[in-house]
């Protein structure tokens, strides 16, 4: 067994998995609360990347240091996308709250196409370069050939934002209200929880994490266009389902699981089958454990 190669692939999978996990949380939170698969979530990620690019472009002209640009790009992208997430929910989903389940789903697909076309018209349909905002850290140099500075930043940023989210949901009042709404929206409302506000908060948090992911991943891959949200979205959605849709730790676990699985499949079998492998996993899970790794089988209420 070639352990070096095994570890290299593991670290690569970790980066990839963290990316998936960041986006998957948005899917899973929204699903947990309003049982909607928000297909436009990948586009929020893409919008975050574009916002980051614009901020980086403007600040780059004024010669700010890369780290300052990165932080500013993240902050502005997060704020901007949070606003988008909030508005999107109000415009596309809230009016359909009482409608049949299929209606908001169609609305989500429409929103996704709308946002893609909006970027084509407002920005461009070309590939654009994304500046490398994460500098090569001196102390990472000895292992830069397996795990670079951008990988480190992505993994640390994902892990810490997920930890913060977990603490938020566990210990704050708003977090408690979110859990209550997820469990039973009607009951929560009877107890005085403003469900609309909770749903908005969910969209804001999910979109913020997607924006963070968008900026970090674009600086890692060095490029973006209006379609990047699609593949990332599909993969993250797969991760959310693998982990158990509706469960936040499940989304993290599912993301890591998918990232590692893809990395090892590409490394030991062939990258030709990377996607085949990812989606075969999904199918196997849907057959043998439809509720995912951490999901609970739905209990029929009588």
């Amino acid at each position: 067994m070639d352990w070096d190669f095994f570890i290299e692939l593991g670290l690569g999978g970790l980066t990839r998995g963290s990316i998936y996990a960041l986006i998957a949380i948005g899917y899973t939170m929204v699903y947990g609360i309003i049982e909607l698969i928000n297909f436009a979530h990948g586009e929020i990620y893409m919008l975050g990347a574009f916002t980051g690019l614009i901020v980086a472009g403007v600040m780059g002209i004024y010669g700010f240091p890369a780290v300052a640009i990165l932080l500013m790009a993240i902050v502005i992208a997060v704020l901007y996308c949070a606003a988008y997430g909030y508005t999107m929910e109000k415009v596309a989903y809230k009016p359909l709250r009482g409608a049949a389940r299929l209606s908001p789903l169609i609305s989500a697909i429409g929103m996704s196409l709308f946002l893609q076309n909006y970027i084509i018209l407002a920005q461009t349909s070309d590939f654009l370069p994304f500046p490398a905002l994460i500098p090569d850290f001196e102390f990472m140099e000895p292992i830069a050939h397996i795990f670079g500075s951008t990988d480190l930043v992505i993994v640390v940023a994902s892990a810490s934002s997920m930890a913060a989210l977990t603490l938020f949901i566990k210990f704050t009042k708003l977090g408690k209200a979110m859990r209550a709404t997820a469990q039973n929206r009607k009951m929560a409302m009877l107890l005085g929880i403003n469900a609309d506000k909770i749903i908005s908060t969910t969209f804001i948090i999910g979109s913020s994490l997607a924006a963070l992911g968008g900026v970090l991943i674009s600086t890692h891959s060095g490029q973006l266009n209006f379609m990047i949200g699609f593949i990332a979205g599909v993969k993250a959605f797969t991760a959310a389902v693998l982990g158990g849709i509706g469960s936040i730790p499940g989304a993290m676990l599912g993301g890591l699981f998918l990232g590692l699985a893809e990395s090892y499949a590409a490394g030991y079998i062939s990258s030709d089958y990377e996607d085949v492998f990812a989606f075969s996993l999904l199918v196997i899970f849907l057959i043998f454990r439809p509720s995912g790794i951490l999901g609970k089988a739905p209990v029929e209420k009588v």
Binding site: T15, T150, D151, I217, S221, G222, Q223, I231, S263, S271
Partner: protein
Amino acid sequence: MTFSGLLKSIVTGLAVTALCVPAFAADTIKLGVAGAHSGDLASYGLPTVNAAKVVVEKINAAGGINGKQVELLIQDDQCKPEQATNVATKLVSDGANVVLGHICSGATKAALPIYTEAKLIAMSPSATNPMLTQSGDYPTFFRTIASDDMQARLGVDFAIEKLGAKKIAVLHDKGDYGKGYAEFARKFIEEGGKAEVVMFEGVTPGAPDYSAVVQKIRRFKADTVIYGGYHPEASKIISQMRKKRIKANFVSDDGVKDDTFIKVAGKNAEGVYASGPIDVSNLPMYKEAIAAHVKMFGSEPGAFYPAAYAATVAMLTAIERADSTDYEAVTAKLRSEFVDTPVGKIKFNEKGDAEGVGFSMYQVQNGKYIELK
């Protein structure tokens, strides 16, 4: 076309031949032009008709070829194989001396057995399928465009001879174009026996991260990466390679020889090799050909116009030099003597591919693709 239609065209053809053969031998040289002149792919075929018109008008105005005027026989095959066979039969029976065409590889392949049978030279400006020349089945076929495998041949030879590659990782984007290039590259490397293919894999376009593939390049100690595909994935792969401190050379195709690649990959693009069409825009004859089109049709020519112009000139010059329209004599001239065309100085090899057209290697130097001589 129905059987009766085919029959009709044969009958008409025979009738016309019977009338014309004795007459044309003295009078005119007949240049058949076959390709898509209507339908979805007309934009490929019409520029070749224009090219033939421009060249023929110029030659006729100057007194023709050895005193004979050139006459055009234009036939539309819509790039459909079943139409192409009819067109070929028609051209043979109408007494064409040489044929410019066909345009699409499929239609060309369908028509070629008829030309082979009739010993009629057909020269395509655009059919790039490698088998058309390499199979050796169609000795009357020539072309003025490089075949699909030429780029892979160039890339492989360049990597092995100029860069001294021993262990080559061949990657592609799983698409028709990229995978085709990669498969030819693998075949040529294996046939050459001077280097080995250490990995052959497709990457998923659009994936956020290629680190597993990149780690594999290191694991197999590849000194050169040959990539078939387009620039978005290429720039991501090269960037991740450099980030992971892999110094292997990167050789690719004209999907990567695009300024967007340099813009997106930035400093990581430096030193990357990519093949692209030989730059002919400075040749006087190229400029002259374009100017003649603008004068005659009032617009810039479409794709394949220079290659079609070159094919017309090559065939008519060979007839002039042979002072005959005899197949053997003209073919010998095409294969032995160079001719000046808008795509460069060309002659044809035994298989019918033009020497002197095609691709050259470019390298990114200081943010620009520079042609390597």
